[in-house]
Symmetry: C2
Subunit: 411 residues, 2 copies
C-alpha cells in the first residue's frame, strides 16, 4: 500500500512557525514528526483527516477528551441547545447545578463539584484546598507524575523558580514505604498526596497499582491527616465511571477530572467530600471562562451517555482486543510489543529494540492511517469499532513488514 | 414601577449549595446579593434574562467576554462552521495559524501569538517566558493588580504558601520613582514588570496612567533588561484595537489578552515580540483544551468584526454617554457619582456616602433591570444601544428616588 503524503501539513507548519513560537506549541509540539501529519481538516467518530486528506483511525482521541467519538450527536445537541440560551453570561447557568448533581450521583467520592477548563485547573485547586484545609504547605507527588503545567508541578524547567519547588516532595510509584519515610521525615508538614490512580508517565511503560498499594497509601493519609488527591484528568471514566478508586478499592478526598468529561468541549471538574467543602469555599480560584454554560451542558450529556452505554467497560474491551491484536501481529513479525497501563489507555513499547526503532515503527503506522504516538499512552473511545481494530492490526502488520527484521534494531 | 421578583433564583441557589461549595463559586460568588438575580435563563445582544424571566441591560458583559453582544451571528457562524469540521482533535487546526496571523496583523506589539483558555493562562505564561528569557526570578506587579489566580498573584490568601510570595514585589500604581527604587534595591534580579495598562482594582476608583508614566516605566525596563508585560485581559480591544499601549504611547514586550477575544468562546492569547520568541518556545505551557479549534474560529471572527465596526471607539462613545447620563441623573437627585477608568469599562462610586449606601443604590438599579455590580468595573459592548443607555438612566433615576435623600447616608 502507498503511504500518506503530508506536504500540505508541512506547508502550513512553515507558515505557522512565523507567527507561533515553535509553529505548534504545548504538548502537541512533541507529536510533530518530520514526515507526519501536523494539522487536521476534519474529524468524525473515531477518525480524523489531515489537511492532505489522509484518513486516520485516532488512538490519541485529542489526548483524551474524545471519549464518545468526534461530533457525538447527543453531546452536540445538548451544547447547541445551551448555546441558544446562552454560554458565558453575567450570571451562572442552572446547568452548572445539574452537572454538579450528575457528578455527585455518578462519582463515589463526590459530595460536591467545582469547575474549571483544563485538568491543571482542577489539580491546582485541589492542592490549594488541601493546603487551606490542613494549614500545611508541603505536597507529595510521584516522580514522573504529571498534573498540568502549574509551577509546583514542573519546578526546575525553564521559566520556573527555586521557590516553586521548595514544598514539593517526589516519591517513586508503588512504594508505600517511601511514603511512610517521607511522612516521618516531615511531621505535620504534608498537606496532601497527589497521584494518578495508576502510573502513566511518558517515554516508558505504564504501571498499575500493586496489590495493597492504595490501601496502604489511604491508611497513611488518614493516620497523618493528609488530603488524598486522585488525578483522574487522564484516566477519568476510562477505568470506572464511579472513579478509578472504586475499581481499586480506596476512598480519596478529592478527585480531579478533565479530558473525557466534556467529549471535547472545554471543561474540567474537581469533586470532593463534605469534610473539605468549607475549605473549598475558602479558596479563591476562578477564571473568566469557568462559567461557560455550553461545556457544562456537553459534560452532562457526555456523562449520561457514558453511563447509558457502559462506556468504561466498552473501552476496556476494545483496548484489550487492540492490545491482543497488536501483540500478536508483532510476534508474527518477530517483534515483542509491550502493552502497559489500562486497556482503555494503552502504552506501547517495542521491547528489546532501540527507542528510535520503536519510534520508526510508530511512524510507519501513522503513515498508513493508524494514529499512534511514540512517547505517550494512547486512548480508546466508545466510537472505535471492531473493524477499526482489525484494520489497525493490518496496518501494524504492514508497518512491521516495512521495518523488516528486528535483528537490525537490537539494543 | 415594580421591582423584580427573584424567587426562582433563590430556590436554585439553595439547591446549588448542596452540591457546589458556596453555591456559586469564583468571582461570580461576589456578585450574589440577597435579593438579586443569581442564575440566567437566556441572553441576547446586550441583554440577559434571569430564571424568573426578568430582563436586564447587561453592564457586566459576563465580566468582559461579551464584547459584540450575546449570540453574535458572525461569530456563532464561524464557530458552527469550525465545529462541523472538528473542535478538539489530535492534531492542531489550521485556524490556529489564521488567528495568530490576525493578531499579529492587528496588535502593534505582536510578532507571534500563543493560546490558552483564561486570562490567567496568558499572564502565567508571560511571567514564565520573562523568567526563562532573563534567567531572573523576581517579578514586579502593582499593589492591587489582578492577573488571575496563579499562586504568585494571590500569595497570602487561603491555599497559598510562603514560597508563593517570595519573588513578588508589589508597588503603587502611577509611581515611576517607586519602580526605580525597587530596581536599585534588586540589581539583576527582576525578570519582569507586569501591569494592566491602567489601574482597575475592585472596591475603589480606577485610575488612568499619568502623563509620562508609561514612558518612564518603559525606559526603566529597557535600561535594566526587564521584560515589560501588559495585562490587557480585561481592557483588551476596549481601549484600542491595536493594544492600549498604542493609545498610551509605549511598547511592551508581551501583551496578554482574554475576555473579549472570543466574544464568550473560551480563549486567551499571549502575544509578544520576536526577541522573546525562542524563550517562548523554551517554556512548557499547555492544556488539554488549549487546542480547541472552535474558540479560535470564534476569536478570528470576533477580531474581524471588532475592526469592521471600529469597536473600541464605539464602546468609548457609548460609555461616555452612559457616564454623562448617570452623573447627571445622580446630580438631579442630590448625589455625586464618580465614573472612573476608561469609558468602555466604567467604575462607578457614589461619592460622600457610605459604601453600603452605594451598594444599596446598585441593588435598586439591578432590581429595575440595569445589571450593575457594586464593587467592580463595568463593561460596555458594541451591542448596547443609545436606547439601552437612555433606559438605564431612567432606571438609575428611579433607583435614586427609591433611595431618597443622600443626607441620610453621609459617611
Amino acid at each position: 500500500m502507498t503511504t500518506n503524503d503530508t506536504s500540505e501539513s508541512d506547508i502550513l507548519f512553515e507558515r505557522a512557525k512565523s507567527v507561533i513560537p515553535g509553529g505548534i506549541f504545548g504538548h502537541y509540539k512533541y507529536a510533530v514528526r518530520p514526515s507526519g501529519p501536523k494539522f487536521f481538516s476534519r474529524a468524525e467518530g473515531a477518525h480524523f483527516w489531515d489537511v492532505d486528506n489522509n484518513q486516520y483511525i485516532d488512538y490519541m482521541c485529542a489526548y483524551g477528551p474524545m471519549i464518545l467519538g468526534y461530533n457525538h450527536p447527543a453531546v452536540d445537541e445538548a451544547a447547541r441547545k445551551q448555546h441558544a440560551e446562552g454560554n458565558t453570561v453575567s450570571l451562572a447557568a442552572p446547568i452548572m447545578i445539574d452537572l454538579a448533581e450528575t457528578l455527585v450521583d455518578m462519582v463515589d467520592a463526590a459530595d460536591w463539584a467545582l469547575f474549571g477548563k483544563n485538568g491543571g485547573d482542577a489539580t491546582t485547586l485541589a492542592v490549594m484546598i488541601a493546603r487551606a484545609a490542613t494549614g500545611r504547605e508541603k505536597i507529595i507527588k510521584i516522580d514522573d507524575g504529571y498534573h498540568g503545567v502549574t509551577a509546583w508541578m514542573q519546578a526546575g524547567t525553564p521559566g520556573t523558580t527555586e521557590a516553586d519547588g521548595v514544598d514539593v516532595i517526589t516519591l517513586p510509584w508503588n512504594d508505600v514505604d517511601a511514603l511512610e519515610s517521607a511522612l516521618t521525615a516531615n511531621p505535620g508538614k504534608i498537606a496532601c498526596f497527589i497521584s494518578s490512580p495508576y502510573d502513566h508517565p511518558v517515554m516508558r511503560d505504564n504501571t498499575l497499582p500493586m496489590d495493597g498499594y492504595w490501601a496502604g497509601v489511604e491508611a497513611l493519609c488518614r493516620k497523618h491527616g493528609i488530603v488524598l488527591i486522585i488525578d483522574e484528568v487522564r484516566s477519568g471514566f476510562r477505568v470506572d465511571l464511579a472513579g478509578a478508586n472504586s475499581a481499586y478499592g480506596f476512598t480519596p478526598d478529592l478527585v480531579c477530572f478533565g479530558k473525557g468529561l466534556g467529549n471535547g468541549y472545554p471543561i474540567s471538574a474537581l469533586v470532593g467530600n463534605d469534610a473539605l467543602k468549607s475549605a473549598a469555599d475558602s479558596v479563591f480560584f476562578t477564571g473568566t471562562q469557568f462559567f461557560n454554560a455550553v461545556p457544562m451542558a456537553a459534560a452532562k450529556a457526555t456523562l449520561e451517555e457514558l453511563k447509558k452505554i457502559d462506556a468504561a467497560n466498552t473501552m476496556t474491551r476494545l483496548g484489550t482486543k487492540l492490545n491482543e491484536g497488536l501483540v500478536n501481529v508483532a510476534s508474527q513479525h518477530g517483534y515483542r510489543l509491550n502493552a502497559t497501563g489500562i486497556p482503555a489507555m494503552p502504552y506501547y513499547r517495542l521491547d528489546g529494540i532501540s527507542f528510535e526503532a520503536h519510534t520508526a515503527w510508530i511512524d510507519e503506522c501513522v503513515k498508513r492511517g493508524a494514529y499512534f504516538l511514540f512517547y505517550h499512552n494512547h486512548f480508546l473511545s466508545t466510537a472505535h469499532t471492531d473493524a477499526d481494530i482489525e484494520r489497525t492490526c493490518n496496518i501494524a502488520s504492514d508497518a512491521f513488514a516495512a521495518m523488516g527484521s528486528p535483528d537490525q534494531y537490537q539494543e
